[in-house]
Amino acid sequence: MIRFDDVTKTYDRTARPALDGIDLEVARGEFVFLVGASGSGKSTFLRLVLKEDDATSGAVQVAGKDLRRLSSWKVPHLRRQIGVVFQDFRLLPGKTVFQNVAFALQVIGRSRASIAAAVPEVLELVGLEGKGERLPHELSGGEQQRVAIARAIVNSPAILLADEPTGNLDPTTSLGITRLLERINGRGTTVVMATHDDDIVDSMRKRVVELVDGRVVRDEHQGGYVTGAVPVVPPPGLSVDHRGAVSVDTVPGQGGGPR
């Protein structure tokens, strides 16, 4: 579904590339955590998938299309297959919940009838049934993020990208949002979630790809959030921490889960 072959991205006037020779493949229907410190290249990765930027070298394939050869007038069609969620929600403050979600369909020219059918359905999926007439500022942060997720998936995209979606939320709410993304993943949507929320990564036991300085330093299935920079050392004799992230045979600093 997403495939990076030796992808390097260098922004103008910076010596160090934001992404440096990335090889990565995300299969259809997968749930992947993209972890790493700020500046490690997570956002650049997502921008390349959306073709907001072009790779400096290497090939990016998304949904079966080679983005190097995708002409600019076809980019909107690519983006209709990708939903995006951000840390800051990016809702339109003057529009109601319903209108915010409907906006995503209006601007791609969908008919009024299909919008009227699709929006309540997706609001129910994200747990906001009955709140369609609220304005964003009348909602909690978690609810606002649910609106943003509803907007991202209302067009049934094949891929959902989430850039630090829980960055502004408390731990309980964050977990709820992540569970929602998992449920969406269960319906067949490929989900890539960039985050540095270790509790969430540890609790979900999904594939984890870690970036450091634009390189993939770790790619493991059912991983936890353990960085090379801050190794997690489990207390002696304890096999599992309070969230069950670290198992007994793990070598500290080399990853959380069983291979």
Binding site: W73, R79, V107, R112
Partner: protein, 301 residues
């Protein structure tokens, strides 16, 4: 649905950006008024040229009884007239001459009376000179005719009629050049202002457009509202310019100048109506180019 949506987006944009929109309307109004005025003045010049300039170019006034000129000894005789006409209609002059008309004293008097009844009451027909009205193939060759007949028996004076109109055309041409120069400056200002306005509008709505880009709105959907905003503002400006030009021609030319100086044909409201569509076309082209340049820089897909 799509159409309605684009319309509502335009409404939001125009309201949010009201001051800038008004300034675009006003600047295009002033610049298109000058463009239109320049075009109408040129039409006036060519109307007059077609009417006068080419028809009668040289007048050979013959001696009257009262003439004091050295070449005159009383009124021009029939022999004098025959000699002049023969010279005009035979080689070498006939190659230069396109038409010759003879104007009698009575005809001259009628013309005079038509132009100014009060003044003509104080003269009699026989005080006005008879004349040959000579059309030239090349109006610039006036000098040849003048040399041939100035001082000939029976000729009082040879006059290049164009000299009478020349100052008037000079004024009109200068006014045209002036208004077109002003129009040019104003049009540059208009283009820059439209570009800046579109840029501001795109900045004001970056939240909406950012989401539109992410959910895969086509560039048409993304850019059309901004483009149409510019076009609507320019059309309002063109409509105002057209209104002012109509008023000016109706009151100023048809209602005043044509009454005061009735000797000429003047442009009318019909000419203005014919000019107005071009003001719209020019304005729309201008706004579209300015918008697209601005949008391609500030609102990429």
């Amino acid at each position: 649905m799509r159409f309605q949506f684009v319309l509502s987006e335009i409404g939001i944009g125009l309201r949010r950006n009201l001051a800038m929109t008004i300034s675009v309307v006003l600047v295009t109004f002033v610049s298109l008024t000058f463009v239109g005025a320049g075009a109408l003045m040129q039409q006036q010049v060519s109307t007059m040229k077609g009417d006068w300039y080419d028809r009668v170019q040289v007048a050979i006034f013959l001696c009257t009884q009262d003439s004091l000129s050295a070449s005159c000894s009383g009124a021009a005789s029939d022999d004098d007239k025959a000699a002049i006409e023969a010279a005009l209609t035979s080689a070498p002059l006939s190659d230069l001459v396109s038409e010759v008309q003879f104007e009698t004293s009575d005809e001259a008097y009628e013309q005079f009376r038509a132009q100014d009844e009060q003044l003509s009451a104080s003269v009699t027909p026989d005080q006005l000179p008879e004349s040959f009205r000579v059309g030239l193939v090349d109006p610039e060759r006036f000098g040849v005719i003048s040399e041939s007949f100035q001082g000939s028996p029976g000729v009082e004076e040879v006059v290049d009629q164009r000299e009478v109109l020349e100052p008037f055309f000079d004024v009109l041409n200068a006014a045209t050049a002036g208004s077109l120069a002003l129009a040019g400056v104003m049009l540059v200002a208009a283009v820059l202002l439209i570009g800046t306005t579109i840029r501001l509008a795109a900045f004001n709505r970056r939240r909406e457009t950012g989401i539109m880009r992410l959910v895969g709105a086509s560039s048409t959907f993304l850019q059309l509202p901004f483009l149409l905003e510019g076009v609507i503002a320019v059309c309002l400006g063109a409509a105002l310019a057209g209104g002012v030009l109509l008023l000016a021609v109706d009151r100023g030319v048809t209602g005043w100048l044509a009454q005061q100086v009735p000797a000429f044909d003047y442009i009318t409201a019909t000419d203005v109506w014919a000019t107005i569509p071009w003001l719209f076309v020019g304005g729309i082209v201008l706004a579209s180019v300015a918008s697209l340049v601005s949008l391609s820089r500030y609102l990429k897909v």
